[in-house]
Point group: C2
C-alpha cells in the first residue's frame, strides 16, 4: 500500500486535463492531498496551494505522487531532478506513468540509498487469465464515454458513493492509474498485454452476491481510435448489466485527434449496447452522465433536461448535482 498523505506533483502539465490523476485524488480523497508541487510552465492548478518539497513534508506528506498523465512520453531531466530531491528529502514516490520509476537507474539507486519505496501503479502485478466469457453472479455497471477524459471515473466514483449512501452493496473497480491510486487496488488496463485485457476485467469483477454491484471504471471510447480496443475489452470482460453513457458537450474534437468529431450520446449508446449484448443479452443503457464544468449552472440544467426528454432516461452531472438519480435507475433494474 502507498503511504498517505500525498504531495501531488503536477510537473509542467500543459493543461488541466493533463493533471486529471492529481485532480481525482484531490476530489475523492481530499484528506490524502496536502498540497501541489508545480514546475515552471505548469498549466494546471488544483487550487490546493503550492508547496515546496520541504513544506510538503512539514504538512505531513509521505509520498510524492506524480499526478500528471503523459501521452506515451518520457520522464524528463527536469522531472527527474525533482524526484531525486524528493527521495533524498524523505518521500516515497508513486506513479501511474507508462515510463516506470523502476526503469530509471538513478531513481532506483536513490530509493535504495535513502530507503524509500517507489510504486509504479500502472504495472500489472498479476498474471491475468484469458477471458472465458462465463456468466458471473452479481451485477455490474460500466461507464462508457463519447471520448476520453469526459468524466467516466468521476461518474463511477460518484455512483458508487451514491449507491452505498442508499444502502446498496457496491464496489468501485479501478481500471486506471488514478483509480488505483485512490483505492489502492485495481487493474492497470492500458498496460495489460492485449490478449489478457478482457480476462483482467473478469478477474477484477468476480462472482459476488446477487444484489452486489461492481461499478467498473471506464477507459477510452469506442469512438477514440487510439484506445477503442481497451474500451471494447472492458465491455466484454465486464459483461455489464447496465451502461452509463458519459459525455462532455463542449468538446470540439476527440481528445488528441484534431480531425475526429466526437459522436453523439445516441451513437455511443447504440454501438456500446450492441457490443455489450454480445456478452450480456440483458444489458441496458440506464442513464447519461454529463461533465458540465464548462457550462453555467442554468445552461447545464437546461441541457440535462433536454437530454432526459430526448433519451428517456436520467441525465445528470454527478460531480455537480450528485449521482443519486443514476443510483435510483440501477436500484430500479
Amino acid at each position: 500500500m502507498i503511504k498517505t498523505p500525498y504531495l501531488l506533483f503536477l510537473g509542467d502539465a500543459p493543461d488541466q486535463l493533463a493533471a486529471k490523476v492529481a485532480q481525482g485524488i484531490k476530489d475523492w480523497r481530499p484528506d490524502n492531498a496536502v498540497g501541489q508541487y508545480r514546475m515552471e510552465g505548469c498549466g494546471a492548478d488544483l487550487k490546493l496551494g503550492d508547496m515546496t518539497l520541504e513544506e510538503g513534508l512539514e504538512a505531513g506528506a509521505k509520498t510524492l505522487v506524480i499526478g500528471v498523465a503523459n501521452r506515451g512520453g518520457i520522464i524528463s531531466k527536469a522531472w527527474k531532478e525533482v524526484l531525486l530531491a524528493a527521495l533524498e528529502a524523505g518521500y516515497d514516490l508513486a506513479s501511474g506513468l507508462h515510463n516506470l520509476l523502476e526503469d530509471e537507474p538513478e531513481l532506483v539507486a536513490a530509493a535504495e540509498k535513502y530507503g524509500r519505496e517507489m510504486h509504479d501503479v500502472r504495472v500489472a502485478s498479476v498474471e491475468y487469465p484469458i477471458a472465458n466469457g462465463e456468466k458471473r453472479t452479481g451485477k455490474r455497471v460500466l461507464a462508457v464515454g463519447t471520448d476520453c477524459s469526459v468524466g467516466k471515473m468521476y461518474t463511477a466514483l460518484a455512483l458508487d458513493e451514491a449507491m452505498r449512501a442508499k444502502g446498496m452493496k457496491s464496489t468501485f473497480r479501478a481500471t486506471g492509474q488514478t483509480g488505483i491510486l485512490i483505492t489502492g487496488e485495481g487493474v492497470p488496463l492500458d498496460a495489460v498485454v492485449a490478449d489478457f485485457m478482457a480476462g483482467s476485467i473478469e478477474y477484477l469483477s468476480p462472482d459476488n452476491d446477487a444484489d452486489h454491484w461492481d461499478v467498473i471504471e471506464g477507459q477510452g471510447s469506442l469512438f477514440h481510435v487510439s484506445y477503442s480496443g481497451v474500451t471494447l475489452a472492458l465491455i466484454h470482460g465486464g459483461q455489464p448489466d447496465a451502461l452509463i453513457v458519459c459525455h462532455e458537450p463542449t468538446r470540439k474534437h476527440m481528445r488528441g485527434l484534431p480531425s475526429y468529431t466526437p459522436p453523439s450520446i445516441g451513437q455511443v449508446s447504440e454501438l456500446a449496447l450492441a457490443m455489450a449484448k454480445v456478452a450480456n443479452a440483458t444489458c441496458k443503457v440506464v442513464g447519461i452522465s454529463v461533465n458540465t464544468q464548462h457550462m453555467p449552472d442554468a445552461e447545464a440544467r437546461a441541457y440535462l433536461a433536454e437530454l432526459e426528454a430526448e433519451y428517456g432516461m436520467p441525465a445528470v452531472d454527478p460531480f455537480r448535482h450528485g449521482a443519486e438519480r443514476l443510483a435510483d435507475a440501477l436500484a430500479a433494474l
Copy 2:
C-alpha cells in the same frame, strides 16, 4: 531472420486447429517445411511425414519451429526435453508462444552452450507509438471474422497472392505469430500492451503509393469476448478502405466459449463497418471469405452462391477456389 527450412514441432497438440501455426507455414511456404515432429498423443497431422530430429537435420532443416498455439499455457517438461535435444542436435528454435524461450533458463543455457539462436516472434521488438488516427496514403484491406480461427490469415495471404498475380501493388502485413514466421516480419499484436495496439497497426501499414494495398491480417472477432479489443484496435489502427468478412459455417459455438453462438456474416459486416467508419468514412465491405473445409465441394459452392445472392458481393473460399474474385472486387473500388 530465422534460418530456413524448418522442422515443424507439433508437440501434443489436442487437435488440428491447435496446429494452425505449422499448417500456415506448410501451406504458404511449403519449401520451408521439410517435415513434422509429433509427440505421443498429438491430435494434429500436417500430412508432411513424421521425422525424428536426426531425420529433419538430414533433410536440411535448420530451425525447429514450434507450430502449436497454446491458450496462455506453459512450456511443458515433455516439450522442453525435445527442445533441449533439438538445440543439442543442431537446431535453432523459433516460437510464437506467449511463454518465451528466452524465459526458460535451461533453454537459454543450452542455446549458449551449443551456439544456437532462439527466436520469440511474439515479442514486440519495437516501441510502438500511440495511434494518432491521421489519414495515411495508399489503400488498406482488413479481414474480419465471425470467430477466431476461421481463416482470416489464409484469406489475407491468398488475397495478397491474387492481387500480385493481377499486377496490383500489394503487401501482406502479418499481425500474428504464424504470419510473422511466414513473412519474417510484422507486429505480434496479441502481445502488444493495450495502449499501443492501434499505434502498432499504424506503424505496420504506413504511408504508401496511392495504388498500393496493404493486406492486413485480422485477429480475433468483434464477437469473441476474449479477444474483441484486439480486433477493434486492428480496425481503428488499420483504418481500412475495405473489409472482407471471414466465416466458418460449421462452427457450433465461438472458439473456446461453449455458451456463445457465432454471429451471422451480416451481423459482423454491420458492426465491423460501423466501427471502421469511425476511422475511415468511405470504408466498404467488399467480399465474403468462407472456410468450407468441412463441406463437400458441391455443398460449398451452393452455400457460396447463396451468400452472394443474400449479400450482393463475391463470396469465395480462397484456399479452395482462389482469391481472384476478391482481388477483382478491390481492383474495382
